[in-house]
Amino acid sequence: MKERLEALRSEALDKLQTVADAAALNDLRVHYLGKKGQLTEILRGMGSLSAEERPIIGQVGNEVRAAIEAVIAEKQAGFEQAETARRLQAETIDVTLPGKKSAVGAVHPLNKIVEEIEDIFIGMGYTVAEGPEVETDFFNFEALNLPKNHPARDMQDSFYITDEILLRTQTSPVQIRTMKAMNGQTPVKVICPGKVYRRDDDDATHSFMFHQIEGLVIGPNIRMSDLKGTLLQFVREMYGSQMQIRLRPSFFPFTEPSAEVDVTCAQCGGSGCRMCKHTGWIEILGCGMVHPKVLEYGGYDPKEVTGFAFGMGVERIALLKYGIDDIRHFYANDTKFLSQFAKI
């Protein structure tokens, strides 16, 4: 019986050496080790053995089974590996082809800039105030110290609807509306973005409709040095911590003293280039201390409070920031233009 077991082992191991695939391997396993397989068949004859022989043969039988099983397991693993390899090979794709993106739109560049500026001032404790685009002559001009017949005021330059109602030419009327809404309370700290309209022929640098954003601060002890401090902080958050500002005396009817503000040219860092006309400076906003008459119109006593205001053109900032060549691109809504601003 031992001989038969040994013979079975060598036969099985022989056959297993040449087995071709997983199915044939399984057939061999059933043939030798299955419930009705060869090994079981031989061991069934153990009943006729003596008590001494039985454990010996039993052990031989276990050894044979273990030997065959080991080879089967080894073969099995080999086949599985080969199968995996084949599958991986078959599943290989060209990873250099483009992926499937979902479409993403872009916030309009002007609104991107407005949001950025709003966020800087919100961080400095400002709220955002808005007002109507169709305004009264009073709010747009008169309360801003531009009485009728003022030289800086020209029917030709504004889109009037009636004698008393027009498309606002500046966001400054929001200053008056804010002051009136505050009812004499301080402090006032607002930033006012919005569309404005002037009777200008459109060209690469002019648009009859454009955007402004302006700020207003009123308090019991607001100084021009605070205005400088505020603008410096804004400019550094907007353009970088190396930036400097420079104030030049200027004139606006609603501020006194008034200034125009230059920032370090971002292109050359102040050394002078084509963009800044070799001055090292770029003009970006106008500002000043709120004119006493304007404070009065807003319901404040100019002896009790002072304030500063500043304003800038959003298009100009966007043109400079992105190097855009023509202001009219902002309103044509060409998707080739808009899609360039999709970056976060």
């Binding site: 483009p98 009264t136 009037y160 100084r223 021009m224 400088k228 401090g229 060409d334």
Partner: protein, 815 residues
């Protein structure tokens, strides 16, 4: 205002301050200098020559051969092509070795076989803008006055060795529309003293008295506060001296004759416009300042007949108008070559009166520009005397004794209270009393102490822009230097910064819509009238709001809806081969029920979107998918989900104007006030699409105010289900007209609280179920939160659903 650096040096010593440095100093002080061009465009080696002899060129009809003494010690032979060259003339000569603008180098040359030792120059060849030359000098070579010294450098003769400061003045600084005003400013900036002209010293009175020749009066005192005139006899009208002409040209004013040039010269010097009338043409020796009469006309100096209106101020003689006050003189009293006696006018006309007239007639001049900004009444007489003196000297006139004048009121100087604490409190500086007083005295403002560090400051009349203490604070700040003001943080309590709810939602919408693949558009708020009528329901009966003076028909009316702007943008994109367009815009529309506005219109914030072309383009691994109605609706649904509004929103088939009647839904919001339509989503009507030359386009527009009001970002967490759900699918056959949305609503209402969700997963139409029918397949999910459902419970609920569907819609279960 163009300021000649050399001319300015007459009034203030500019040594050590070159023009460029002066420009920078003035700009930093508040008078912006645009540029500082040199008057010399590149001329060297050009001198004054005397043409001794002119002969015809032997071989060329149009050329002549001149013998010229250019002070070089020997006569030069120069071939010249100009027709106006002649013997006994002083001309500019570019001798051999000279350089001219444009890089031209003068060499010895042969012209048609004749040697030429230089070139006789025209003004243009010397780089002078010939528009600024007297008419007779615009053609041919430049002819110089006979007394010009031979051999003298032309740069010196024509004062080309000079720079021009081009001032870009703010409207408040009209005091710098004069050389004297600029000199005062430079004196304040540099601290150097002024050397002002003394107008009186040049007056040569005759034995005759002005009042025998002319009397003046003001009939319209609210429009003219001072009128003065001098009478000058026996003038000789001729070209002005070269130096006056040079200065006028430098300032950009064309010389005409000595009388006109002197009035212009004094206007540039004093900022006071003057006018000279031919006294022989002034009837009755009378001048009156009055308003025009109805129907009156006047031919002005430019030979245009002007119809005058009763608000226009005129200068009149005993019979007729002879000038438009402050705007332009009349042709009927113009100084001409035959003029012998003149009446010289210097006056203060009201700025807004002059402005109104000059605007209305489209007549703007150097004079009107100055009157509009209010001239300095204190300079009216000084300017008159200065001009009279120059005319006496350079036009050989005799100035009669006395000034004819009428004065309504003299101007009182402004006296302003100022304190040290106000200055430093406003600026954040720590200036001393002395520093402040020094600055003000450099401006020639008078400072008198009226208390401890409190002053009364008297402002000279030349600075009409200064009337309040803050104006003085600005003067102090700019002369102290804006750079010297410190940089400080705001003192006082901190304030929280934030966005309002509408502002935050608007930003959220941008995030959602860009996330859905749409680009944000901004389009013009004005459009054409027909565009406002395309989408009547969205315009909601608003009356058009028209601009009084539009730039064009296309931009003449405020928009009442947003969609037309997006349709225009779509057409623009298609023209540029951007074939897939996905845009949205958040902006205002303008509604009113008034035909003529008496109050501000309602500015309604809205959002609109447009989809056109493919949802996604074809790629190597997928086909293109055109957009349809459900893409547009899906974008909205996604937005409503994100804004917590889905539970309030429903959609109803609708047929608003401008939309495809079978492919449009009204967007309805349910609120405490009831249900209200807040917008539409649908395909654009094919006719409207054709109007914009567009293929199928899907659009939506909705009101944002209800969104702002009801958006709810609060999140209510629900415990995750612990018990299994039971899913049941049904397919029912109903009439085609039955809305799918109604079916799911009925299912939700009838199934009871065990129903967790209901979702349409298929809609079938076809022959097999009849042409007027459709089959709608719906997946229902039932679940109980606290236990496992039994088949019986679900069966009951499901049966209720089927019964209700049958009763409501005649729905049959599809086999």
């Amino acid at each position: 205002m163009n300021v000649s650096y050399r001319w300015l040096s007459d009034y203030i010593d500019l040594s050590g301050i070159p023009a460029e440095q002066l420009a920078e100093m003035m700009t930093r002080g508040g008078i912006e200098i645009d540029s500082v061009p040199s008057r010399n465009a590149g001329v060297t080696g050009v001198v004054v020559g005397y043409v001794k002899k002119r002969e015809k060129h032997p071989d060329a009809d149009k050329l002549s051969v001149c013998t010229v003494d250019a002070g070089t010690g020997e006569d030069l032979q120069i071939v010249c092509g100009a027709q106006n060259v002649g013997a006994d003339m002083k001309v500019p000569v570019a001798v051999v070795g000279a350089k001219l603008p444009g890089g031209l180098n003068i060499k010895r040359a042969k012209l048609r076989g004749v040697e030429s030792q230089g070139m006789i120059c025209s003004a243009r060849e010397l780089g002078i803008n010939d528009k600024l030359l007297p008419k007779e000098q615009q053609e041919g070579i430049l002819v110089l006055p006979p007394e010009t010294e031979i051999g003298r450098d032309i740069l010196d003769v024509l004062a080309l060795d000079d720079s021009i400061l081009e001032l870009d003045l703010t409207p408040n600084r009209s005091d710098c529309l004069s050389m004297l005003g600029v000199a005062y400013e430079v004196s304040a900036l540099t601290g150097r003293p002024l050397n002002l002209p003394d107008p009186a010293k040049d007056i040569y009175s005759a034995a005759e008295v002005t009042s025998d020749y002319v009397r003046v009066s003001i009939s319209s005192p609210e429009h003219c506060s001072l009128y003065t005139a001098r009478y000058i006899k026996g003038v000789k009208v001729a070209p002005a001296p070269q130096w006056i002409q040079n200065r006028l040209i430098a300032a950009g004013v064309r010389p005409i004759n000595n009388i006109v040039d002197i009035t212009n010269y004094v206007m540039l010097e004093y900022g006071q416009p003057l006018h000279a009338f031919d006294a022989g043409k002034v009837a009755g020796g009378r001048i009156d300042v009055r308003l025009a009469q109805a129907g009156e006309t006047l031919v002005t100096l430019d030979d245009q007949e002007r119809k005058l209106e009763p608000h226009m101020l005129v200068i009149a003689d005993a019979e007729k108008a002879i000038g438009l006050a402050g705007v332009m003189g009349g042709a009927n009293s113009e100084v001409s070559e035959g003029t012998t006696d003149i009446i010289l006018e210097s006056a203060k006309f009201d700025g807004s009166t002059v402005r109104r007239t000059s605007r209305q007639l489209g007549l703007r001049s150097e004079a009107s520009a100055r009157f509009e900004k209010e001239v300095d009444q204190d300079r009216v007489r000084a300017a008159l005397d200065r001009a009279a003196g120059l005319i006496a000297r350079y036009a050989e006139g005799l100035v009669t004794e006395g000034v004819a004048e009428a004065e309504v009121s003299a101007k009182q100087p402004a006296v302003i209270d100022l304190s040290l604490s106000r200055v430093n409190g406003m600026l954040g500086t720590e200036l001393s009393s002395l520093e402040i007083k020094t600055i003000l005295s450099r401006l020639q403002f008078k400072v008198e102490a009226s208390g401890d560090d409190i002053w009364k400051v008297t402002v000279p009349s030349r600075r009409g822009d200064i009337s309040r203490d803050v104006d003085l604070v600005e003067e102090i700040a700019r002369l102290h230097g804006y750079d010297e003001i410190p940089t400080t943080p705001i003192e006082g309590p901190t304030t929280p910064g934030s966005l309002t709810k509408p502002q935050a939602i608007r930003r959220e919408l941008r995030t959602i819509l860009t996330g859905a693949g749409l680009h944000e558009a901004i389009s013009y708020s004005v459009t054409s009238l027909p565009r406002t009528e395309l989408f009547a329901e969205l315009a909601a009966g608003a009356k058009p709001i028209a601009l009084a003076m539009p730039m064009s028909e296309e931009r003449s009316v405020l928009r009442t809806t947003l969609i037309p702007s997006l349709l225009e943008a779509a057409a623009y994109n298609l023209n540029r081969k951007n074939n897939d367009v996905a845009l949205f815009e958040i902006g205002n529309v303008y509604h009113t029920d008034e035909t003529t506005l008496t109050r501000l219109p309602n500015e309604k914030p809205r959002a609109a979107l447009l989809l056109l072309g493919n949802r996604r383009t074809a790629a190597w691994n997928r086909t293109a998918e055109p957009v349809d109605f459900y893409d547009a609706k899906g974008v909205l649904e996604q937005a409503f989900d994100r804004l917590g509004l889905t539970g309030r929103i429903s959609y109803e088939a609708a047929q608003p104007a401008g939309f495809h009647p079978g492919r449009t839904a009204a967007i309805v919001i349910r609120t405490e006030r009831g249900s209200e339509t807040i917008g539409y989503v649908g395909q654009v009507h094919p006719e409207t699409q054709r109007e914009f030359d567009l293929p199928d386009a899907y659009v939506a527009e909705l009101e944002l105010e209800p969104i702002y009001e009801y958006a709810d970002a609060s999140i209510e967490y629900r415990i995750l289900p612990r018990y299994p759900a039971i899913e049941r699918d049904i397919a029912v056959v109903v009439d085609r007209s039955v809305a799918g949305g109604a079916l799911t609503e009925t299912i939700a209402a009838s199934a009871g609280e065990l129903l967790e969700s209901v979702k349409v997963f298929d809609v079938y139409t076809g022959e097999r179920i009849g042409s007027d029918k459709k089959s709608v397949a719906v997946a229902l999910v039932y679940r109980h939160a606290e236990r496992t459902l039994t088949d019986e419970e679900v069966g009951e609920a499901h049966a209720r659903v089927l019964v209700q569907l049958e009763q409501s819609y005649g729905a049959e279960l599809r086999k």
